[in-house]
């Protein structure tokens, strides 16, 4: 009976503190906005254009690029600026349309369109292919006209109209892609995603929030509570409930804002809810534990983020464990994060349900119990002292 009162009082104190409000509300929203809007549209690429063309052929090529559905064209005036934007990943590729194209073609000289892209990046390669496809027809027409002029006589320009028609009626030659197998990655690839940021920050915040326990201890709040008709167990349960509610509130914000603003898919609702509940319990228990292990509020504020981020990196929150060596994968599963991220991959990439993530949930519940048990034990000892 006393635990809810303690939890409500602690919650009210947290909500009145502007700093806590920032970490509780502003930070998760900021995170989801950053991640949500940084996710690329996979079928559309930002392509920079340096257009030095001065004739009709160049105009037609640029029009072809503009008409390509997967190319989002941005114009540049300067080659260095274009290169820099590609290196900064602001563009997937860049196209250079030179001057004097038509004259070169007429004189039988090879006139090339330049293409710049990040080597060995999926978006760079795909953007490059989109650009090549957009320009292929014009190139085929010009080549056909030149070839015909060489074969049957006349000027290339004389054959342009018939070559254009031949290109228009030509049946398409295409490459289809079939994807198969079960994914070991999140849908967005192996960098970051809303789900892994949820795992990371709920934990970081909970551990940093361990300062609450320390402050209560320092202010003598527990002693005053225990002076009343309150059991040690009541105090511990009340504190744990507070941490759990805070973690849940934060998760709800991240999930809600992500779904509402960025159409983030969180997978099977039942399984996702279970996972969030269990993860919040892990976070709450870790927060309590840090509160009983550390001595000062400063330590909690300083060590909390470091430990949280380090464990997040180990467990695959900043990059997925699929890309790291086997030893690091094993280490990643010695911390709870690895299991949480695994479960999200199950839910989001393989349409998994509660049954699929049940074993991982079991492991996470074990972590929560272990952290929570240790925290309760230490808190009890501290309360008794």
């Amino acid at each position: 009976v006393i635990a809810p009162t303690i939890a409500m009082t602690s919650l009210r104190r947290t909500v009145r503190d502007r700093t806590s409000l920032f970490f509780l509300i502003v930070l998760p929203v900021l995170i989801i906005v950053l991640v949500g809007s940084s996710v690329q549209d996979e079928d559309r690429f930002a392509v920079g254009l340096l257009d030095q063309g001065d004739d009709r052929l160049a105009t037609e090529l640029v029009a072809d690029l503009e008409a390509a559905p997967s190319v989002e064209l941005r114009r540049f005036d300067d080659l260095d600026a274009l290169r820099l934007a590609i290196r900064r990943s602001e563009l997937a590729a860049g196209v250079l349309v030179p001057s004097g194209l038509e004259e070169d073609v007429r004189a039988g000289r090879t006139a090339a369109v330049g293409l710049l892209s990040q080597p060995a990046s999926t978006s760079g390669l795909a953007a490059e292919q989109a650009v090549r496809a957009a320009l292929a027809e014009r190139s085929a027409v010009v080549s056909a006209a030149a070839f015909t002029a060489a074969e049957v006589g006349g000027e290339p320009a004389d054959h342009l109209v018939s070559a254009t028609r031949a290109a228009e009626v030509a049946e398409p030659l295409t490459v289809t892609t079939t994807v198969q197998g079960e994914s070991r990655f999140l849908p967005l690839g192996f960098t970051y995603s809303s789900a892994t940021m949820l795992v990371l920050f709920v934990f970081v915040n909970a551990v940093a929030g361990g300062g609450m326990v320390i402050q209560n201890r320092r202010l003598g709040l527990y002693e005053r509570m225990l002076a009343g008709p309150v059991t040690t167990r009541g105090v511990i349960v009340g504190e744990a409930t507070t941490y759990l509610l805070l973690a849940l509130l934060q998760s709800a914000l991240i999930v809600g804002v992500g779904a509402a603003l960025f159409e983030v898919d969180w997978g099977d609702p039942v399984a996702a809810t279970a996972l969030i509940l269990v993860w919040s319990a892990v976070g709450a228990a870790a927060g309590m534990l840090s509160g009983t292990l550390l001595r000062t509020v400063e330590q909690a504020g300083a060590i909390g983020p470091v430990v949280g981020i380090a464990l997040g990196m180990l467990g695959g929150c900043m990059w997925l464990l699929e890309i790291v060596p086997p030893v690091m994968q094993t280490i990643g599963h010695l911390v709870p994060h690895g299991w949480a991220v695994d479960s999200w991959i199950d839910l989001l990439s393989r349409d998994g349900g509660l049954a699929d993530i049940a074993p991982a949930l079991g492991v996470l519940a074990g972590f929560a119990l272990a952290f929570g048990g240790l925290a309760a034990h230490r808190l009890r000892a501290q309360l008794a002292a």
């Binding site: 700093t19 920032f22 970490f23 900021l30 995170i31 950053l34 991640v35 809007s37 052929l57 290196r87 900064r88 602001e90 250079l96 090879t110 090339a112 369109v113 330049g114 293409l115 990040q118 060995a120 990046s121 999926t122 390669l125 795909a126 490059e128 292919q129 650009v131 292929a136 190139s139 010009v142 080549s143 060489a150 074969e151 049957v152 018939s162 070559a163 031949a166 290109a167 030659l173 295409t174 289809t176 892609t177 079939t178 994807v179 197998g181 079960e182 070991r184 990655f185 690839g189 400063e298 330590q299 504020g301 470091v306 380090a310 990196m313 900043m318 990059w319 699929e322 890309i323 060596p325």
Partner: protein
Amino acid sequence: VGAVLLIAAKDLRQRLRDRSAVVLGFVAPLAIAFLMSSAFGGAQDLHVDLGVVDEDGGPLAAALTEVLGSPGLDDLLGVSERDRADADEAVDDGDLDVALVIPEGFSAAVTAGQAAELEVVAGVDSPLSAAVVRSVAESFLTQVQATRVAVATAVGAGAPAGEIEALAERASSAPPQLPVEARDLGGRELDLISYYAPGMAIFFALFGIGFTARSWFTEQREGTLDRMAAAPIHPRAVLAGKALSVLVYGTASLGTAAVVTSLAFGAHWGPPAAVVALIVAVAVAVVALTALVISLSRTEQQAEGLSSVLTFAFALLGGSFVFLGMAPEALRRAALLTPNGWALRGFTDLATGAAASSVVTPVAAILAFSVVVAGLAALAARRRALP
């Protein structure tokens, strides 16, 4: 000057005695860099294991297989011939990254001027490999299509229709007009460690704001500030001494991260002079932000709260956690409202091969930010009649 140095040295000694400050300033960035390098140490150049399923057996299938096995693609593609069932299974198991299926009747359809398609079968986790193979296959088809258009145009203009094969041969060997040529991008590729090493180092350097602001209020409470004020030292010397200690702490923290991650973990920071300029600029920004936090806070708790809010807000907006290169322009602009956003842009440019002179703008921007923040701090301090 002697007093300034004395105060700075005292503050630094205090900082080094505080385990939290040492952990955040030196241990944390290195530990995290170590985690990153052990995660990516095994990263290698891209190599695609490709299975070719030739159900066609015609001349075009042979031509395509020859292209895939050509010496230029040797390093990139490891080609083996498979049958369909075998290829599917191998892709499922991850033995093959990608399979390319040339369907029955492909050559005949192409020669007859009909539509035709190639199929890329990709493992769900090999998007880059799939993109590579797709790219090669599409280039091949583009060339084939160009040949078909050339032959059709020539025949339409009166070339002998009976010699289509010879025509196609000549058309395909004629150099293409208006080819698309890949140009060298220059510079180097941005690897994760070269992005996150400075990103994380700056994030942890920002924690210096909190330490110093807190120690200011501790000294106020314990009377150290009063005793210094009573000594024959100008109040400005006290401030200068404290600022100097923050500057040194920030520079040392970032500098250690730069040296150790470069030497031990292969992070590429760039030309030393440029890196030093950026690091010192960031440390100056930390000094200015510390002054602002002190001037705006009344208690230790307020200072603590305000500095952690600033630290996390800046770290997130500036891109320490989420790479902002592909973010919409509004977010990339927002990052440039933070000193660490500018610094990361500077470091990213250096890491991708920009010249040392490229840091002039970021350094100027960070210093301008610091001047504005310091001005705000001075205003706030005057209103509150702080020294």
